[in-house]
């Protein structure tokens, strides 16, 4: 049985290579001032239009030709999401400033955790020590220098989800000894006014406490 996913991946690569080859061919005719330039450009234009429109119409990924699925999700009133918290040396939970995960984007980690929970729950234990270390180093960096990793100043492009700071240099948490990471699933009703995080029903799904 052939691996259809692998074949599809190679087909996507071939489409991109064909796009590049058509561009190189058309560009080459500029240099040689060949009479076929208009035909080569026509072919590049037609290829770009047909492939990009087909990808959009069929709603199949063929990046960099894409169907832009970013905000097409449909929400029912009942919503469940994941929320990470950190645990200090006294066992007290605190909010995690999601920027501390840099370079990992929280929305990506959210999706990764959801899939990992369903299909490969052991994977969390393999990455949790690294995640915890990263969070602890980020917190120490903030306490020492006033900046989180990846903070390239006010003119840098923001990440996809703009997250106001949960931590600050002079916040009430003080020097924080990060010892553990917990991931909760919380439940909300999108048709009701938002509740404080502490009032949302939640279930612990992953936990890692430093030995």
């Amino acid at each position: 049985m052939p691996n259809l996913t692998a074949i599809a991946d190679m087909a996507r690569l071939v489409v991109f290579l064909a796009f590049v080859i058509l561009a190189v061919r058309a560009g080459g005719m500029l240099v040689r001032s060949s009479g076929g330039r208009r035909r080569a450009v026509g072919l590049l234009v037609a290829f770009s239009v047909v492939v990009s429109m087909t990808v959009g119409a069929m709603q199949h990924e063929m990046w960099p030709f894409t169907h832009w699925p970013m905000d097409n999700e449909y929400f029912v009133a009942e919503y469940s999401g994941l929320r990470p918290v950190i645990v200090d040396e006294k066992g007290i939970e605190h909010d995690l400033d999601l920027r501390a995960l840099y370079p990992i984007d929280w929305m990506d980690l959210h999706t990764w955790l959801e899939r990992t929970r369903r299909r490969n729950p052991e994977a969390f234990a393999r990455v949790a020590p690294w995640l915890l270390d990263k969070i602890a180093r980020s917190r120490r960096g903030l306490e020492a220098g006033g900046r989180l990793p990846g903070d390239r100043g006010p003119f840098a492009a923001r990440p996809r989800l703009v997250l106001p700071p949960a931590w600050a240099v002079d916040d009430s948490l003080g020097p924080l000894d990060v010892k553990g990471l917990r991931i909760y699933e919380f439940h909300a009703n999108l048709d009701e006014p938002p509740r404080a995080a502490t009032d949302q029903p939640r279930t612990l799904i992953f936990e890692y406490i430093e030995p």
Binding site: Q59, T66, Y79, V162, P194
Partner: protein, 310 residues
Amino acid sequence: MSARWLGRLRHEWERLWYTPGDAANLAAARIIIAAHAMWVVWSWDIAALSGIPEGFWWQARLSAQWRFLSFPGRPGVEQSIEALALVALLAVLLGIWTRVAALAAAVMLYHLAPLQTFLVETDPHARGFTIAVLSLVVLSAAKCADVWRAGTRTVGASAIAPHWEYTWPLRLMQLFVAQIYLFGFWGKLYHHGLGWFSPEQIGRQAVLFSHIVPGHQLSNLGSVIAGSAILTTLGAGAVFLFELGFVTTLFSKMARRILVPAAVGFHLAILLSMQIFFVSMFHLLLFVNWSWIAGRLGGLRLAARRATPA
């Protein structure tokens, strides 16, 4: 009858792609694409994602890794590629070895961009490089550095006669941007039907973030929208009409004047309500008539010089 329609279709196709256009607008597109891509590369440490533990990569298919030549555990190599991509983009920006540099930058960004999402998927569409990769490939085949390039005496944009060579690449780049909204519309319809465009759905989208991270909103616009039946109804209608209609900017100046500013408003409303920053919104600058602006500024400068007493 069908021959007449085919002839008409052919005529419209030729008009869309090959009407003579200004060199300055294509040169401006070259600068916008390169500057934006440099900004995104500089802003995010994409190479570092290659250095995260291999345990994160369990979903990344081997065939997809080969498709992009993206493998775990090579942050040093990726950093070098990032640096090379920045050099190539700078060359595109300045108009030096433009076509070769554009192709090199496109290939390097094609390789780097999927690292941003390899944790979960292989399509980094909303991370800033989709329009860049497509446009850089197009620019590699275009006469995009006839004006506004470094190292040569400035040639006045108005001194170069309009030509079809300056139209088709810009129109292709504009098509790629218009597809963001067209496919956004079609995707909602394809997967969820007209129900997506209901006031109820707009209200839920608007308050989603305030449920995910309570107490950390940039503004209370989401709650204001969700709390008003009029605003959610208007929002639903506006999303439907805007996303469906944006593609008309390819054909109509009037549509460009209305829908491009509307798109900026659309992204600002999403930022303030859903807290989603769409880094490619700056590609809307591709729809600005830079040739006209340059002409106006040139005319003003000339008038100021004439008005100054010797």
